[in-house]
Amino acid sequence: MTNYLKTLGYGFAIALFALLAYTAYTRFAGTASNAGVVGGPFTLIDQNGRTVTDKDFKGRWLIVYFGYTHCPDACPTALNNIGATLDQLGAKRSRVTPIFITIDPARDTAATLKSYVASFGPEFVGLTGSDAAITAAEQAYHVYAAKHPTTDGGYDMDHSSVLYVMDPDGRFVTNFADETDPATLAERLKSLIP
C-alpha cells in the first residue's frame, strides 16, 4: 500500500515535471521563432506618392518606427532621437534609412507625411497606404495600434512605440525603446553595421 502510494507520488511528480518542461520549452521556442519573423513583405505608398515594397529597401539598414503625425509627444521624441542618432553615425549614416510608417492612414496622406518626415531629416521615408496594407504592416511588425476617442470628437492612437532595426536583407536585428537616447542608439548601430 505504501509502495503503491509512493509509486503514484513519483509518477505524479514526473508527470508534473514533464508538463512544466514542455510549457517552458514551447514558450521559449515561441519567443525565439517570433523574433525571427518581425518584419516581412509590405506594399505601401511613400511620401512622394510612389508605391514601394520592402524590396525597394534591400541593401539598406533600416530603422522602422510606427506612429502618426497627430501624435505630439512620443512620435516627435522618437523621430528626433532617430535624427540625432543619424547625426552621430559618421560615414555609416549613408547606409541607414529611417522609415516612419503611419498607423493613422485616414489622416496621414502621402502629402501630409512628406513635410512631416522632412522636418526630422532629409533621408526620412514616410509610408502610408490603404487600411488593409497598413494593418498588414502592423501585423508583420507585431505593432499594436488602436483609436482612442478624445473629448473634442477626435481621436488619439494607442500604439506600440518601438524602434526596429532591420538589416540589408530585411531581417529583424534588434529593437529599442522609443526613448532610448541617441548616443546609445548610435553606439549600437555602429557596432552592428560592418
Binding site: 501624435c71 509627444d73 516627435p76 523621430l79 501630409t112 512631416y116 482612442h148 473634442d152 488619439d156 512605440s161
Partner: protein
C-alpha cells in the same frame, strides 16, 4: 495733516503688501516652458515646463489663446504608448515637478498656424490653490528640442515604473 496721514497709511499698507505680493509670486514658479516647432502640417504640439510650488497644489487646467489645451499623460503599458487626458496633476510642496517628453505634457491641439522656432506664446496654468499662473512658452527648433530633462513627474507615477532615466 490728514493728507500726510493718508499717504503714510498708504505707504504702510504698501509696505505690508510688498512682501505678500512677493510671497504670492514665489508661491508657484513655472519655468522653462517650451514646445517643439511643429513638423510639417502638424496642428498639435506638447508643452513642457517645470513647476515648483511652496505648498502642495495641483494643476487643474491649462489655456492658451492660440489653441485648445489640455493636461495629458503619456504612459507606456507593456510597450504600448497611450496618451490620456488627466483632470488634475498633483504637485508636491517644494519639489520640482517636470512636465517632460514621454510623461506629463500640456497638449495643444487645433493650432491655426505652425509653431516656428523662436516664437513665444502665453500659456496659463490654473492651480487649485494658487489660481492662474501665466508663462511664455518658447518654441524650440524641432531637431534640437529634446534636452536631457529629468523624466516627467516625480517618482510615484502609476504604471510608469519601467520608464527610468535613460542610461
Amino acid at each position: 495733516m490728514n493728507y500726510l496721514t493718508l499717504s503714510r497709511r498708504l505707504a504702510l499698507i504698501g509696505l505690508c503688501l510688498l512682501p505678500t505680493a512677493g510671497w504670492a509670486a514665489d508661491a508657484v514658479q513655472v519655468s522653462d516652458a517650451w514646445t517643439r516647432a511643429t513638423p510639417g502640417q502638424a496642428t498639435s504640439s506638447a508643452v513642457y515646463l517645470t513647476i515648483v510650488s511652496a505648498q502642495a497644489d495641483a494643476v487643474v487646467a491649462a489655456t492658451t489663446p492660440i489653441a485648445a489645451a489640455s493636461l495629458h499623460l503619456h504612459q507606456m503599458l507593456n510597450g504600448i504608448g497611450q496618451m490620456r487626458a488627466v483632470e488634475r496633476v498633483a504637485i508636491t510642496a517644494a519639489t520640482p515637478f517636470h512636465f517632460a517628453p514621454m510623461g506629463y505634457h500640456i497638449m495643444v491641439t487645433g493650432l491655426k498656424a505652425p509653431l516656428k522656432p523662436g516664437d513665444h506664446f502665453p500659456l496659463t496654468l490654473n492651480f487649485e490653490k494658487a489660481g492662474p499662473v501665466t508663462v511664455a512658452v518658447t518654441v524650440r527648433p524641432l531637431r534640437e528640442s529634446t534636452p536631457m530633462t529629468p523624466m516627467s513627474g516625480m517618482d510615484a507615477m502609476p504604471g510608469m515604473s519601467n520608464m527610468d532615466m535613460p542610461k
